[in-house]
Amino acid sequence: MAELYWTPVADLARMIAAREVSPVEVVRVHLDRVTALDPKLKAFITVCDVAALAGARAAEAAVLAGGPLGPLHGVPYGPKDLYCTKGVATTGGSTILADFLPDTDATVVARLAAAGMLVLGKLNMHEFAYGPEGLNGHYGNVWNPWDAGTHRVAGGSSSGSGAAVAAGACPAALGSDTGGSIRIPASLCGITGIKPTYGRVSRAGVLPLAWSMDHCGPMARTARDCALMLGAMAGYDPADASTSVLPVPDYAAALTGDVKGLRVGILRAHFLDVAAPEVRQAVEAAAKALEQAGATLDEVKLEHLALVPAAAMAIVGAEALAYHAPWLRARSAEYQPDVRARLKLGVAVSANHYLRAQALRARVRQEVDAALARRDVLLAPTTPIAAPALGQQETQLGDGPSDVRSALIRFTRPFNFSGHPAISLPCGFTPAGLPVGLQLVGRPFDEATVLRAADAYQRLTDWHTRRPPVA
């Protein structure tokens, strides 16, 4: 049963429902993995061993009783530690909230529980989600499982989610994505993660970084697993006024494996053209694979991206400062230095610049909409580089030197800005053995097509089945 820890969510749910395996066994196997691997990975902030085993025993009893089961019955997962979990510490990766025990679950945690999922533990992250490297000075810096010898970052801010899933310590996770925080760790850790359309998934009960840029979504090893979790998570929530009442489609049913006629727009300018050569090569090959499977390719250029970094700084800087202002007044010294500095820079944002940033957002959204009017998905690398070493500050891109932080969020942030759904999935490896991520961006509320394309690609390739050396 040792290989249970590489079994996808979809198969675990089927096996549990068919009584081929007990949820108790599934949870035990994963808890053993956490015990064995996490001293190095530092992917977990809290391990919910007692509650997870109790939940697994109840899930087993429900199976044996023969009653109706949720679609993900008995399958464990880990929420990033900014999702409120009733009675379980929710730290946001900070010591400021070390003693915060929420009295209710975040909406999506409650929905996944209703679908039958069990919380295995709470996952590490960049403090308060404010950083794409996934660093945490309080609970330890997450180790990317794809390099056993060199400490490389897992990507953030959902670094624990990326590393835990990649290493087989849990079959799936929840991340949150304000500038790429689901897709970046998915890319750097060689797993699959989807940032849905803004408004598709409730943010109620999730600690915010920037309300108008935050997105919640699943991370797993396959697009199919993401589809199953997203189906359970998505939909209108009266507790989150930004959620849409549009009906939630059956995402799993959309996974036909067929991409014949799928219109794919390749983002070269500002994206592929500035990526590292090994990233470019892997993503070009992925586009070719989709074309050979029947998709049609053309090139598309987004013209209004030059000001996105400034606009995102204005929006995230202002919104994050507003949320953190009470703690910045009273407990400033408790933040890790990079997060404290970033938060304080929010003071530089004026109302004038905040509103101009929001105006630019409308224009970028219109431009992405226009690009997708004649195409089904846009294709780009998720990140221009593979996982950097811990402490690496600079990197070289096709258009010149860049600091690592800016490089990591460069290809993902435009779609937080615009709100379009975007997925990252593995599409190859660098010569050093580090995963490369492919990003597919879809029309608003058309996660089904994004997932279909990603699933079809995973039927054609085996990148998502590779196992990292630390595991």
């Binding site: 359309t197 803004y198 408004g199 108008s212 930004s242 849409s244 009442v245 549009l246 000001l307 970094p309 400034a310 606009a311 700084m313 204005a314 800087g317 202002a325 910045l328 007044r329 400033s332 500095a341 304080k344 820079l345 003071v347 530089a348 944002v349 004026s350 004038n352 610049h353 509103l355 101009r356 940033a357 929001q358 105006a359 630019l360 957002r361 409308a362 224009r363 959204r365 219109q366 709100g419 608003p444 509320f445």
Partner: protein, 62 residues
């Protein structure tokens, strides 16, 4: 558009005090170059023409 003024420690202290924060000089001094760079970056947003598109946030199909 006015050229950006030099950000001195005193300026930074006044700005942060106006915003309701009181942080130590040493930390503000360390932030000073970053603050100046951030202001330069944000200044580029003055080129955004509000007559073309009005401020809005995200998709919300009800």
């Amino acid at each position: 558009m006015l050229p950006h003024m030099e950000i001195t420690l005193d300026t930074l202290k006044r700005v942060t005090r106006l915003a309701g924060f009181e942080w130590e000089d040493a930390e503000l001094e360390a932030l000073r170059p970053l603050f100046a760079r951030t202001l330069d970056m944000l200044g580029r947003l003055d080129a955004v023409d509000l007559a073309v598109s009005e401020p809005s946030t995200q998709y919300r199909v009800l």
